[in-house]
Structures are given as structure tokens and as C-alpha cells.
Amino acid sequence: MEPVVAPVTLLVPQPVGILRLSGDNLPDRIRPLFPALPSSLEHRHIYRASIIDEGNPVDDCLILYFEGPRSYTGEDVIEIHAHGNPHNIRHILSLLQRQGIRFARPGEFSLRAYQNKKISLLKAESLHRMISAPSYSDFQEAHTHYTASGSHPLFTIREDFLNLLALFFTFLDHPDEEEEALSELSPKVLAARIQTLDDSLSNVIKRTTKARRPYNGFSVLIAGHPNSGKSSLFNRILKDNRAIVSPIPGTTRDLLEGRLSFPFGDLVLLDSAGIRPSEDRIEQEGIRRTRQSFSRADCILWVACPDFPILPDPALLSKQEKPVFFLWNKVDLSPPSDPSLFHHLVSAKTRRGLSRLSDRLRCLAEDFYTSASSGSSTLDSDRQLNTLRSLRSAVREARSFLEKGQIDLALGALEVGRQVVDDGVGAVPYSDIYDRVFNLFCLGK
């Protein structure tokens, strides 16, 4: 396929910056830039060569070569290690583009690996999860799925499902009054097996929905009246100046995400638009988003201050089973009239109370990650989640037919589930299922 390139390292000053390329006949494509490269490159060898632009040396680089199809993408892959100054890396990128090598789209390397049958869709999903995992334990789990696909919950579910199909096949294709093997099988046994499968499906689905957080990590929403100092607190906790701070109420319009990385996992801090009645359409949308995040975030910090000593509308907090903390900001100006209403008295200006607040958040995040990594595995993507949801509804339909004694219709419903599994996890040939029948039962006269 046409060659593509993408920087693998961030464009920030650092000792080494890495560019990765993939495509057919790559050595020939880049040789004009690296005249010193030998005429034929060897698989998995490292070369040292200078980039030459119109006769002038640009940078001294290391070139790693992987010959297709023995590479990640299945095509030729080259990594260029250059000096990590962002301007230098950008310049090299533009030189490569002049050679007709275009920028890779997000995920394009994995897509190519998938298309060239180097990795399955499931592996690609595990890989994506590995890269964006919010904690080390999540990374490890995705890595296990990636390296040992048999441990993937989809595979265990598929095994159970195929065994169930095999039982139905056996039951329907053999007269039970004659096959002694069938004495072990009855509609009752089939119903119990369906129930077991339904349970494990529900289990995985529940575990996954619980573990997959909307903001990909433990999230803390900062909310309150406009101008109470939310953005100031956000900046202080992140030790950054990302959020705009101003004395004009209604400054923040959009949800802003910041990430703190701890050894046990990420804490995602969310700054939000202040809540008040507003005619401004943009502000209204911002407030709608804030309200939405109330149900999505894992923890809420409500900020009040001397100008707006207000607590949140109870309707906002009803049905929220998550920790909510009331902060009194701008304590440097004046303390609250009833301090017992507030968990923390802080000042974004003087930093008073902030380290205690940070410690508290850190503890909450740590608890969250320790309880999430209970050892049982979860799914890698929404697509996988949807696959299991459709499978579960097929399985439930089968059960309701079985309860009415319509066993052929029950199998019909399971066959719909089989399509779901075929499309979602990979096609299963008939013979695979029938092998199970003969491993389980001594059939035939």
C-alpha cells in the first residue's frame, strides 16, 4: 500500500524523536534522502545514515528496518530515530512528504496490520486499549488479551456458546428414546446451560460497563456557580495554566479535561461551565454538558465562595451514588457562615487547604483502581460490548422458546446468536461445532 509516516514520540524537546513509516518498497522510497544507505537493507538491522536535503546534511539518524511481511503491519516498516527537537522532526516529516509519503491517519498502522492479517480485529482492539489504558493494571489486562487471546472474555463466552449449540444439535438430531447418551440431556438441562451462559454474559457486560469509565479513568468534576473559582482550582491542582481564569462570570463554556498520572492509575479532572440561569445559547449548552457530567463523573467537587455561598440544587445530586464534596473557595476573603456545611475550606489564591484536597482525591482514585482490578477480565471496546449484548438477547429468546417446549425454535434463536458471534468474534465453521458433539457424546448405532 501507499507509504505513510507518523511521529511515534511527542513533538516536544527531547533527546530522541522517532518517526515510523509503513508501505511497500520503503527502502527505495527513502533512499533519495539517505544516500548513504546500502543498496539492499536487511530485515531487523540498524543502519546509521545522514539525511541529505539538496546536498546539505540535515541530521544524523538511526534507521531500523523490518522487511514485509515480517513486520507489525505486514508491509515494509522503517523507524527513523533522529534528534528530538520538534522543529527538526517537523522538518524531516516535510522532507518525507516531499518523497510522496503521506501522513498516517490515526490508527492506520494497526488498520494495515489488521488488513494484512497480522492481527485480528480483537487484537487491534486490545492494542488500542493497551495504549490508552488509564492504569497499569488495565494495561496489563489488555496486554494479556493481546498476547494470549484465549484468555479474552469473548473467547471464553464463545466457547460456552458453541458448547451450548453443540448440545442443542445433539439433542435435536438424535431420537432421545434411543440414544443412551441423550439420557444426560433434557430440556431442563438445556435451560440450565442457557441460564449459565446468560449469567456469564451479564457478568462480563456488567463488569465492563463498570470498569469502562466515560472519561477513560477515575474522573473528578469541578462544578459550581460561575466565578466561584473552579478554573483557578483546576489549574492549581493540575499545576498548569490550561483553564482561562477571569473575573467575568461565565468564562468557562466547555468541559475541560486534565489528567494526573499516579502509579496506580490516572485521575481525570474536569473543569466545567458554572451553573446559573442564562439566556446565552453557548452558555446554555455548556451548562447542559456540566449537568450531563454529573452522572458520568466518579466524584464531584462543588465550589462555593463568599459572593455565591450556594449549595447545589438537590435535584442535581439525587440518585448519584458517588462522593460529593462541598468546597468553600476564596477563604482568604472570608470564611463561610456555617463551616460545618463544607468539607474543605480552600483558597486558589493562597493555596490554603489545597494539598489536603489533593491528598483526598489521590486516595479516592487509588481506592477506585484497587477495587476495579479484581482479577476478572473485561472487554476491550464498545463494539465487543454490543456483540455480547446482542448475543445475550438471542440467548434469552432461546430460553423463552425452550420454556414453551418449542425446542426447534429455541435453536433458531441461538442461530441468530451464532451470526452475532460469527460477525463479532470470527466465523465458526459447522464442523467445529460438530466436533464438540462427538467429543461429548457417544452417538450412533
Partner: protein, 613 residues
């Protein structure tokens, strides 16, 4: 050779087994001058395994053959001594009939049927060679030196290709107990026809003398009352001998049986490495059962009568190739068979078969223009599977001769279609047997509606005599009248039709109570097939939907290059490789699931929209 002997034929069928019978009978019904050549004229229609026809999946095929005017259902009805409807408690879609037959009566009826066809002739002889000119078979050469010209040829040689019979460590050439095998034909098929061959095996149990069996120690297994016959057009009103049905008897192996077999495994050709052919897993020898399921202490044995005139029984369940002295010990270790006398020893047979993915959907061997193969030669087992293929091959041999396009049974509407499709797309890695689980559309392709599914096609092909065509239209109009009555009669605010959809409402209860009593005069199947049609209608629509909701769109080639969401890697790969031109082509590709066809269809429609904008 006398000049009076005719030697030029439209359709020539080799083999007088169940495939050969259907092939010759179909071609003759379609008006072709047909010759059936077989090694022994008295053995046409021989049941080489157990004396029984039908069963789950298999009985479905028999009904389909019958709906197309074929032989098997009528032959079984006219020679049957016991009939049973199987799986009655598991839903109408998986129910099927099985009959015990009188072995010699079946042969007589088969011969009578073939002899009654004006354009069908029989000839005893063994084929040794084929003459092929430009990829077309022009004549077949018999061992007696005769040469027979033919315009199309159907080979149905069963287990006779290079057949070898094993009893213990002794092996002799043979196609069936007591019969010769053909030896030269295998190499003709591989060398001259360019077909690749494999090897399979199957087996039979020893046959026992009835008066030496103590039936008192076994459980009798009676037939159903009323007798469920196969034939849909003209079921007989009684068994051929007028008498009551004959029971089978159930007994089982003992620990002693297991000890005997374990102690003698070294004398089994299966376990001493003398037999290499692949055997059917669902029809295991007793050696296999003992070795593979050591924890099972007993295995069922059904003692089946061979017929009304002979005192011979078939102990179904102890197929074996152990030496005769061991067979005797095995038999005497079984309750009721302690003193049983063996009339014929059991044996295993190994034979050549042609990998069926070398055939097209009309069962024509692709390397040649006019050679059709049917039955066990294609790696299947079972009389019914053989007969079904014989029907398809015979029809297509006749169509070829008359210059008409081939007929392909459709996978979505028949077990014949499922079988042909499985064979030619997936080939076989063990002897192929029909199961209802092989049919995705099993809720529609039922035992009760074979006539609705296939008789119209048989009429188009010219396979039915006028009286059957007449019977079909009477059935049609009866069912239409009955359905109208169901739609127009209301009870408790609902039509009877709606009532009938519920699983616990039966048509029989409505006749006389809401519906006029004269409806009950109709043949039972006319009523039951309509009843099931109504009960399954809702579900069939759902499962047919998957297939029918699509018009057959052309596939723009560029779409195969796109990332098609949801389509599995295997399927994408296959599509890219085969580059199907239309959805129907894609659908017939191996491994391409209906789900991915749906997704492909959606992608095509989206693609068109994009281009339109």
C-alpha cells in the same frame, strides 16, 4: 455382439444402489432413453447396511425425493414392516419418519418400479473403462467387451470402487458382503478424468438367526399407530403383507462385552493399522465406542428384523471388523443373544471416493462436460443421502441431454440443497451424513411441507406423471379453502387462524368445533402441513428474511477495497480473493455468513448514496 442389442443411450447410469435407482428413474421420467448398468441385476435396491430408511435429517430427504416424484419414499412404504415418527416432542421442524423395511421386498419393489418405466432399461455388467473425447465421455466399456455410447453418464458405484472387506486381519477385495468390487474404475477416474480420490471406511455387524435369540430378555420397540408413511401422493392403506407392524428389540452391551473387545483390539484391523480410510463418527464400530468412551459401561443395541419371510436379524450397534471368533464372543455377551447364531459375519469395508468439491452444483464433475457423480462415491453415507444425490444427478444428466440449463436445489428451501451445497463447497473430511443442524433454514424446510417446497419445481422439470400433478393441485385448492375458512371463522374475538398460531391449539380440535367436519376427510398430511405452516409462519418469515429481503445487488469492485465495518477478517479475505460480482455470488462463497452478506449489502447501498450525492 448381436446387432439387436441397443448400444446408444441418452443417459447411462452405472450402479443399481439407491443413488442409481433415483438417477435412472428421474432421467426416464423426463423422457430420456436411459440405461442402468449394474454388476448384479438381482441386487438392485440392496440395503447394504441396516434394513431401515429415514431418520432425523434423512427422513427429510426421503420426503423431498417423494415430493419430486422419486422412488425411495414409495419403495420404503411398499416394503416397510414398521414406521415411526421421531422427535415428536421437540418441534415439527426436526420431526422425521423412519421405517424398518423388508430387505428383499425392497429389492423387488425397486426392480418392479424400474421395469415399469417405458424408456428405462437394465443391463448387467461391470464398467472397466471410459472413452473420453475433448473432455466429453462418449462411451463406456464393459468387462464383457461391450461398448455403450452415452450422451451423459451418472456414476453411482457406492462402496465398490477399489472396495476391500476386512474381517479380522484378513482382507479380501469386495464391495459388499459376498459381492465383487470394481478395481479398474478408480484409476480411470483419477488418471483419465483428473479427479482426486480419497479413502473411507464403514462397517456392518454380524447378522443373527432369529430362533436362536431370546427376545424375552429384550425390550420390544413397536411402531406408531396410525402408520406414518413417507409417500405424500399415494400412501398405501396397509403394510404390504397385510399384517401388524413388526417390533424391533432393545438390548445392550455388558462389561463382559467390553472386556472381550479390549482383550482383542490387536486383532482388529481398525486398531492394528490395517484400515486407513476415514470412518463416520456417528456410526462408530463397537471397537470405537469402547475405546473412545471407556467410562460408559453399556451401549444400546437395536435388534432389527430383516424381513417377514426370513428369520434373520440385524443387531444395530455392534458394527465390527473383529475376527469371527471374537464376534461370536461379543454376541454371546449380550442379554438375549447368549445363544445367538451368526448367519453372516460383520465386516468393515474400505473404498475410494471422489472429493466432492470437484463437482458443481448439478453434481457434474467439473473436469468433464457430461459426467455426474452421486452417492457414496462422493464421500457420503446413507441410503437417503445417496438417493437424494441420485435424483439431482439424474435430473441434470437429463437436462444436459435435452440442452436445458442445470437444476440446482436451493439451500434455503431443501435438504437436497443443503447437502449439495455442503458437498461442493466444503468437500468432506469424514463420510457425510445429513443432520437438521446443517440446515440454517430448518424452521422452513420441514418434513411436513416438502410438497409445497419442491413439487412445483418437479412439475417444471417434468418429473411428475399427470395423476400426481392432479393430486398436487387438489391439495393446493383444499388447503386454500381450509385457510380461508380459518381466516373467516372467529372465536372469542380472534380468527381461528390466529388461535392456531399458538403452540397449544390444534387444527384437529377445531374441525367439528368451529370448522365443518368434512375437512377431516382429507389426507392427514394435507391438514398437518397447513397447520405447521400456520404455526411456523411468523418464525419462518424471520429466518427467510435474512435471505430474501435482499435483491441481488451487483457488488462494485471498489467496495471490496474499503474498510467494511463489522465484516470479519476471514470473510473480507475471501471476498477479496474471489471478487464476487453479485451478492448472490458472495452468498455462495464458503464461509461467508448471512450476517456479513447483510453488512455487505448495507455497505453497497451506502456506497451508491455517496456516489449519487
Amino acid at each position: 455382439m448381436g446387432l439387436s442389442l441397443r448400444n446408444s443411450w441418452d443417459v447411462l447410469v452405472v450402479g443399481g444402489g439407491h443413488a442409481g435407482i433415483e438417477a435412472a428413474y428421474a432421467a426416464a421420467r423426463m423422457g430420456q432413453n436411459t440405461l442402468l448398468v449394474t454388476m448384479h441385476l438381482d441386487l438392485i435396491g440392496q440395503m447394504s447396511c441396516n434394513p431401515s430408511v429415514g431418520g432425523i435429517g434423512k427422513g427429510h430427504i426421503v420426503r423431498e425425493i417423494d415430493a419430486m416424484g422419486g422412488a425411495m419414499g414409495e419403495l420404503a412404504d411398499r416394503s416397510g414392516i414398521q414406521f415411526k415418527m421421531l422427535n415428536t416432542r421437540k418441534g415439527a421442524a426436526v420431526q422425521a419418519i423412519r421405517a424398518q423395511c423388508d430387505r428383499s421386498r425392497y429389492r423387488i419393489e425397486a426392480r418392479r418400479l424400474l421395469d415399469s418405466q417405458p424408456t428405462l432399461f437394465l443391463r448387467q455388467g461391470e464398467i472397466v473403462d471410459l472413452e473420453i473425447i475433448n473432455g466429453q465421455i462418449t462411451q463406456v466399456i464393459l468387462q464383457d467387451g461391450s461398448k455403450l455410447q452415452c450422451r451423459s453418464l451418472v456414476l453411482t458405484t457406492g462402496t465398490f470402487l477399489n472396495g476391500r472387506l476386512h474381517v479380522g486381519l484378513d482382507a479380501v477385495s469386495g464391495g459388499r458382503g459376498g459381492e465383487r468390487a470394481t478395481s479398474g474404475l478408480s484409476s480411470v477416474l483419477s488418471d483419465k478424468c483428473g479427479l482426486s480420490l480419497g479413502r473411507m471406511k464403514t462397517g456392518t455387524p454380524p447378522r443373527l438367526l432369529g430362533r436362536s435369540i431370546d427376545f424375552g430378555r429384550m425390550l420390544p420397540q413397536p411402531g406408531d399407530d396410525p402408520v406414518p408413511f413417507f409417500s405424500l401422493f399415494a400412501p398405501p392403506d396397509r403394510l404390504f403383507y397385510g399384517g401388524p407392524q413388526k417390533p424391533c428389540f432393545l438390548t445392550s452391551t455388558t462389561d463382559r462385552t467390553r472386556e472381550i473387545i479390549s482383550a482383542n483390539l490387536d486383532r482388529s484391523p481398525l486398531y492394528s493399522g490395517k484400515i486407513h480410510g476415514i470412518g463416520p463418527r456417528y456410526c462408530p464400530s463397537i471397537e470405537d465406542k469402547i475405546v473412545k468412551f471407556p467410562h460408559r459401561s453399556t451401549h444400546h443395541i437395536f435388534v432389527e428384523p430383516e424381513g417377514v419371510d426370513v428369520d434373520e436379524f440385524y443387531p444395530n450397534g455392534i458394527s465390527t471388523s473383529l475376527p469371527l471368533d471374537v464376534q461370536e464372543k461379543i454376541v454371546s455377551s449380550i442379554p438375549g443373544l447368549e445363544n445367538a447364531i451368526i448367519l453372516r459375519p460383520g465386516y468393515a469395508v474400505e473404498y475410494d471416493f471422489v472429493f466432492p468439491d470437484q463437482l458443481d452444483r448439478s453434481l457434474r464433475a467439473r473436469p468433464l462436460s457430461n459426467l455426474f457423480l452421486a452417492g457414496q462415491i462422493n464421500g457420503t453415507t446413507g441410503y437417503e443421502e445417496a438417493a437424494g444425490q441420485g435424483l439431482v444427478a439424474g435430473i441434470n444428466a437429463a437436462l444436459l441431454v435435452s440442452g436445458r440449463p442445470p437444476w440446482h436445489p436451493d439451500r434455503q428451501s431443501s435438504y437436497l440443497g443443503v447437502m449439495v451445497d455442503d458437498l461442493v463447497t466444503h468437500s468432506v473430511d469424514e463420510p457425510y451424513r445429513m443432520f437438521t443442524s446443517r440446515a440454517e433454514n430448518r424452521l422452513y424446510i420441514r418434513n411436513d411441507n416438502a410438497v409445497d417446497r419442491l413439487t412445483p419445481q418437479a412439475l417444471l422439470l417434468g418429473l411428475l406423471p399427470p395423476w400426481k400433478a392432479e393430486a398436487y393441485s387438489q391439495r393446493e385448492s383444499f388447503q386454500r379453502t381450509l385457510k380461508a375458512a380459518l381466516t373467516n371463522t372467529r372465536k372469542e374475538g380472534k380468527t381461528l387462524l390466529d388461535h392456531l398460531r399458538s403452540p397449544d391449539c390444534s387444527l384437529a380440535d377445531m374441525i367439528g368445533d368451529g370448522l365443518p367436519g368434512h375437512f377431516s376427510q382429507a389426507p392427514a398430511n394435507w391438514l398437518s402441513s397447513l397447520e405447521q405452516e400456520i404455526k411456523y409462519e411468523g418464525y419462518v418469515r424471520i429466518s427467510n428474511d435474512r435471505w430474501n429481503r435482499m435483491e441481488d445487488l451487483p457488488i462494485p469492485p471498489e467496495i471490496l477495497e474499503l474498510e467494511l465495518p463489522g465484516i470479519s477478517r476471514e470473510v473480507r479475505h475471501r471476498l477479496k480473493k474471489e471478487r464476487p460480482a453479485r451478492l448472490s455470488d458472495a452468498q455462495s462463497l464458503r464461509g461467508v455468513t448471512p450476517g456479513s452478506i447483510d453488512l455487505l449489502r448495507i455497505s453497497i447501498l451506502k456506497h451508491h448514496k455517496k456516489i449519487d450525492q
